[in-house]
Amino acid sequence: MTYEHFHNMTIGELLSAQATRFPNQIFLRFDKERWSYADVELKASSLAAGLRELGLQPGDRIGVTLPSTPAYVITIFAAAKAGLILVPINVRRDRTDALARFAKTKPQALITFSDPKQFNGLDHLEMAFGLRENLPELRFVISTSASKAQKKDGVISWDSLLKDTAPLAPAIAKPQDAAAIIHSLGSSGDPRGAILTHGGLVHNAAAIASRMDCTAEDVFLGTIPFSNAFGFTAITLACAVAGAQLVCMPHYHPSEALRLVKEAGVTVLSGVPTMFALELNHPDFNTAACATLRTGIIAGAPCPPELVMRAREKMDFKLLIGYGLTEASPAVTMTQLDDGPITATESVGIPLDDIELKVVNAEDVSLPYGEEGELCLRGYNVMTGYWENPEATAQVLDKEGWLHTGDLAIVDADGPVRIVGRKHEVIIRGGFKIYPGSIEMVLRSLPGVKDAAVVGVPDLIFGELIYACIVPDEHSKLTVEETLAYAESHLPNYARPDRVLFFDLLPRHTQRGGLVQKSYLRERVRIHGHSWKFGRNVDTDAIIPARHCNTADPRELSLHCMEDADADFVKKMKRGDLIVADSNFGCGSSREVAPLTIKAAGVSAVIAKSYARIFFRNAINIGLPILECPQAVDGINEGDEIEVEPATGIIRNLTTGTQYQAVPFPDFLRRIIEVGGLLAYAEERLAEKLG
């Protein structure tokens, strides 16, 4: 299905069209209740009329902070039909967060609810009233929690706005008009409201539904909050485009998701990587219960290939990887149902139709295919700008309409797009975007801290964990516990460091104002994996052109050497595991082939008896952490769970509970590491020599 007929339509028109085409088809399901497309059309139209009767005018903003219930979906369509601009706020946002988002958008009405038990005592209705003190424009507080609403003066009951006999509101909005303002975070962590149009959102939803080959037979599960562009477009609107069913899920929990998949016969399961990790690791998980699953999207954070592979295997469905951003309504690229295993797990697929991509360097010059640079896109789906924020808009949206994503990517001529990193250093932990700068500021204010850097470290459950790297003052006796306690009292719970590590110094760029080398630090703060003792008869130096890859190019050889040398070994090993080099590993390998080989295999660190050996010095030079620790090599068995902190040289065998201290790098190597590798060191030496 191409769903081209949805390419120039408002959100209200989308629902009307589907209510005409599938009047009796179930659209929304929640517990035992069911709403057909005709039911939702009727309710949305009457709510639209109710909202207009309050005096709200087209173009007015209407805030929504609701769990993902049918009421939310009805509100989305009602606001659209009334010509109001929806400003969704995640229910997990506290008053400060909400205020920061409403301060500029100034909604005239706010639809909310009250359920403090579910939200650690946070009463959203109370919060809404509190907001009115700061938001004089906020005239109406509407609550879906009827009983509570009646008790409170000035609260309008959501139900009371639904008038059974209300006339269908005439179409007011046009496809090019703003439908929603969804917030994303700027590089300093400040929220910015991306203005998304009706046409952009519906067209994007149609493209998503088409890529997933959705039909009216499908059943979507509402895992992602509808306040998020992913949940808004890729779940709610894409479901409507297909004329499919949406199983509402107000509070995400992996066991609940698994239960609903089985009981409701869900066919389309989407989520952020954390959700899939939690579902797969859940004791209730079993493959048979996922029998109805057909496809879905994993997106919202970097997707570890092994997680995607595991989800595809264990859930036995064609999970697609999506890449997008709020400012793009949100989907930009997706993998395809018939992709091969590597494309399906290690890329973000190809762009959706009618979206142009390019990659630029730091000077904004377009790069040829295959080169790494900042990904830019242009198309119907790009926001019209940030609400009342022309400076921020100008930073990301250029005069030719290119949206600069801040993500570093490689785009091939015909091949899939690969996202390789983030231009800025945002950490996404469990779906929350966290800006290291704000945490670093707090940590630097702690007495005894000389310097601090915060990095995200890949984690299979949370996507990333927050690591605080602290350089204490010379005579400070600061402890990890004190640092964590301080962070707890000064930071929101989702932004607290998961680990605190102490350093003597932080690696900094020699140029670029001496900025901390985050990518370098990130690789070094912690490594966690299982150990593999590399067989000593493995020749990582072996060149296998005739046998396998038929090439003389050392860069290509590195991708195959290890597998050729010991295929079983490679099959057993997981990306991120460590190698314990028991013996003459990579016997005599002189070139980078061997280090490149183990990098290609995804090895995160090597524990060796001597890092000065040719093989290992190469590895150091190309930035692979090597720890010299003969005791650890002898004390670790294959398969042991190991945690390594290369910065401190601590090696923990979590299986046996033994801890080892690797030989510290000599000053000489520390300098190489400090400046960021051998090439940077050479530049320093050259400068010295020149005087």
Binding site: A552, G588, S589, A612, I614, N618, N621, L678, L679, E683
Partner: protein, 418 residues
């Protein structure tokens, strides 16, 4: 306290009066060497260094030997990139027809002298210890940096001493001594150490035998494999136009991590059996192992003396009908000498093929790659699984006499059993 040869050489490279094992130094290099395989990566890394120029074009050499003559478009492109880089920077560049395998070519062309520090982007750079030079393998990033600043970082290695006694019997050469030594200490036995080869056997040993021994020091994990330069060395280098260099020796009271006394008088030829060079057996224990291929030459045993040894066996004989034999002279000069001496004729008469100098099959590259299940005897230095071809193929390492005799017999045998 006295110092070892390794410590003495390295001290001269960083203007230190003395050095001790474990110290980290930034040493000046006398020669940086790369093949096309390591050169291509080194060039990429070099070009990432801002404002980099080569520190001294006369002290850098590019030798195209691994996939030459270009075996495919890719290798041709790689060589082309290396040539353009060399032209741009005025670096000495050896290509097909003028080249040879880098370790044979360097001394032959008089590019190295005793006491030199040679940073080669190839693990067998330890070979140059055979003339008393500290040759050591480096990575391409190291090579890039050495080309730019003329220095390499290094930990001063401990030294381990091997003292060889006795006169080797007929058919026994340097290759057998080093195979025995690797078997004795294991492939990890000299991990990050300088192996120092000494003793009366060494004093009377020919340069090509010393060459084979130093070449395989890396197979015991060594940083370098050193022979103190002596009068044999002086004569060898004189004929190659080099009368300079530092003729250093270890002090009598130098400290070694270990000293091994090895009596070679009862040695018979040794063979390293799959899949690791320490898996060494006397050739007499390997009777009846049929082979499909024999490869003689390349770097470990690619000197003219090695080809003479093979020719001594093959003269007037034909190789076994099942067997393919590939003779790979170590350099153009070795090839020409062999031609003039009539060795090539002997090889061809014996149904051997003769290749242009190349690393070729040693690393499974080209010029004699093995099919599944095939067994090969080779004078090369590594016999890891799949090293010369298919993962199920087997590689046995031996000296040129044994390789040639086995080619004739169709199975692994000692020349004395022919």
């Amino acid at each position: 306290m006295g110092h070892t040869l390794a410590e003495k050489i390295l001290a001269t490279k960083c203007d230190q009066k003395e050095l001790f094992p474990g110290q980290f130094i930034n040493a000046r290099v006398d020669l940086v060497m790369a093949s096309e395989l390591s050169g291509i990566l080194a060039i990429e890394e070099f070009e990432k260094i801002r404002n980099a120029r080569v520190f001294d074009p006369k002290k850098i050499v590019f030798i195209m030997d691994h996939f030459t003559p270009a075996k495919d478009i890719k290798s041709a492109e790689i060589v082309k990139t290396c040539r353009e880089f060399a032209d741009k920077h005025g670096i000495r560049f050896y290509d097909v027809g003028r080249a040879g395998i880098q370790h044979i070519l360097l001394p032959e062309q008089g590019l190295i002298a005793p006491g030199d520090l040679i940073a080669g982007a190839d693990s067998h750079t330890c070979t140059h210890g055979f003339i008393g030079a500290f040759g050591t393998g480096i990575g391409s990033t190291d090579a890039a940096v050495a080309m730019a600043i003329g220095e390499m970082w290094m930990k001063v290695p401990e030294s381990v001493k091997f003292v060889y006694h006795g006169k080797p019997q007929k058919w026994v050469g340097g290759k057998d001594l080093i195979l025995h030594t690797i078997a004795l200490i294991g492939v990890e036995g000299a991990r990050y150490q300088a192996m120092e080869f000494t003793g009366e056997t060494i004093d009377s040993m020919r340069m090509n035998d010393r060459f084979s021994m130093a070449n395989m020091a890396i197979e015991a994990g060594a940083k370098a494999g050193l022979f103190a330069a002596d009068e044999t060395t002086r004569a060898y280098l004189h004929s190659r136009g080099r009368d300079d260099g530092l003729y250093l020796r270890s002090d009598p009271d130098a400290e070694y991590s270990a000293v091994y006394d090895i009596d070679v008088s009862n040695f018979e030829p040794f063979v390293a059996v799959p899949f690791i060079p320490e898996n060494v057996k006397p050739v007499s224990e390997l009777k009846e192992l049929e082979i499909n291929q024999a490869v003689i030459g390349m770097c470990t045993n690619g000197n003219i003396e090695d080809l003479r040894a093979a020719a001594e066996i093959l003269k007037g004989r034909k190789i076994h009908p099942r067997v393919r034999a590939v003779i790979i002279p170590g350099s153009q000069k070795v090839y020409l000498d062999a031609l003039r001496e009539g060795l090539i004729e002997i090889f061809i008469e014996a149904n051997c093929s003769v290749s242009t100098p190349t690393c070729g099959p040693c690393l499974g590259g080209h010029m004699g790659v093995l099919a599944s299940g095939e067994r090969c005897i080779s004078t090369s230095n590594r016999n890891f699984r799949g090293r010369m071809g298919h993962i199920t193929s087997e590689l046995y390492l031996a000296n040129p006499y044994v390789a040639a005799a086995s080619a004739v017999a169709g199975r692994i045998i000692s020349p004395s059993d022919l």
